[in-house]
């Protein structure tokens, strides 16, 4: 029962993007389409789960003073793995996400979970925490990606969803659109909370 709570808290209550405002860079940069968002969400979830597992396993062997550099090395190793795997199997997506795959290393969500959760809890709970947070992050960027893709291109996952007469609001898939959509969504979340 408790595990379930660790798993689901990342979806809405402690959503890393909307509630905690972590990992903003990839959130805004790769959400020009839903496809990119799914790819990024998957990559980040992979890194999150495996670095959580690994860190919770080795937490007793790391001196407290050097724990942050140690965490970063663990995270960087898994990022390198997913970087190579994506380069090999989904080259087009890898090219679209570009710089933001190696930059998962400095995504504050992952280091944040390592420091706040995996460094203090056992393996099983850390897996569920990582998985839940990863899914929460993925949901958030898919929502943003969907809004931007529908407004900016009239499409969803590459299929036309709006009538032909719809003139795409190009700004939504350009840089400013990311900030505006994100700001409005955060405002909406605040409104709902009250």
């Amino acid at each position: 029962m408790k595990l379930m709570k660790e798993f689901t808290k990342g979806f809405i209550k402690e959503n890393p993007v909307f509630v905690m405002a972590l990992g903003l860079c990839p959130t805004l940069a790769v959400t020009t389409s839903v496809e990119n968002a799914i790819g990024m969400g998957f990559a980040a979830t992979f890194v999150l789960v495996f670095s959580n597992i690994f860190i919770s396993l080795i937490k007793n062997f790391i001196p407290a003073k050097v724990r942050i550099p140690a965490y970063i090395v663990v995270i960087a190793s898994f990022v390198t793995i997913i970087d190579m795997v994506m380069h090999a199997f989904v080259p087009a997506l890898h090219k679209n996400l570009g710089l933001f795959i190696p930059l998962i290393v400095v995504n504050c969500i992952i280091l944040g979970r390592a420091e706040a959760f995996a460094g203090k809890n056992n393996v099983i709970r850390s897996i569920f925490d990582g998985l839940g947070m990863g899914i929460g992050f993925t949901i958030a960027i898919i929502v943003i990606g969907a809004i931007r893709e529908i407004l900016g291109a009239g499409q969803l996952l590459g299929f036309d969803v709006l009538p032909q007469t719809y003139k795409p609001v190009l700004v939504a898939i350009l840089a400013p659109g990311a900030f505006l959509v994100m700001g409005l969504l955060m405002g909406l979340m605040n409104l709902k909370k009250k």
Partner: protein
């Protein structure tokens, strides 16, 4: 002369056309987090310019003289983040010993910079764009300058914003995002520049 004009074009691109924060979405956390007050924004900006220039220098050297000759390019991410982390630590120690006043001003921002994705971002971009050593250093410096520019602009706007009437649910982060969006719109105008 050709070199000078190339450097000038690079500066314009890094500061305005492809601004790191507003166009490339790098370094957003400090951009939103440290832009509440003008003087702390200035401190953060200076620290970032310094670290980005240093990081560009060292990561370029490591890539060219260590990783490539040894065929260890796949270790790029790990090597770079470790370089940046130790660099930040080193800079912190040196500044603390030699310039206590500067340390007091930058102090709390320095550790934050390790996880600033703009620093790792500029290091990787330098390699991807195949810049020469001098170009890489300058690119790091200009990118830091671009970051500082928008950070200071943002801090100025947010200090004014504090006194204006905003719907309760939009206060804080949401309105900062909207302001950033408007700034990005303005910066989009630079993308018409032909360089």
């Amino acid at each position: 002369m050709e070199f000078v004009s190339k450097i000038f074009a690079m500066a314009i691109v890094a500061i305005f056309v492809q601004n790191f924060v507003l166009m490339r979405f790098l370094g957003l956390c400090p951009y939103i987090g440290v832009s509440k007050k003008l003087d702390s924004a200035l401190g953060m900006g200076m620290a970032v310019i310094f670290v980005m220039t240093m990081a560009s220098t060292f990561t370029w050297l490591i890539q060219s003289y260590l990783l490539v000759p040894l065929k260890l390019e796949f270790l790029q991410t790990i090597a770079f983040i470790l370089t940046i982390a130790s660099l930040v630590q080193l800079v912190e120690i040196i500044i603390q010993k030699t310039a206590p006043a500067l340390y007091k001003a930058l102090g709390m921002f320095l550790p934050l910079i390790t996880t600033n994705c703009a620093v790792l971002g500029v290091a990787i971009l330098n390699i991807n764009e195949e810049y020469s050593f001098i170009e890489a250093i300058l690119n790091g410096f200009f990118a830091g300058l671009g970051f500082t520019l928008v950070l200071i602009l943002m801090a100025g706007i947010r200090e004014k914003l504090d006194k204006s009437e905003i719907p309760a649910s939009m206060k804080g982060m949401p309105i900062a995002m909207i302001v950033a969006g408007c700034m990005a719109l303005a910066f989009l105008g630079f993308s018409g520049l032909k360089i």
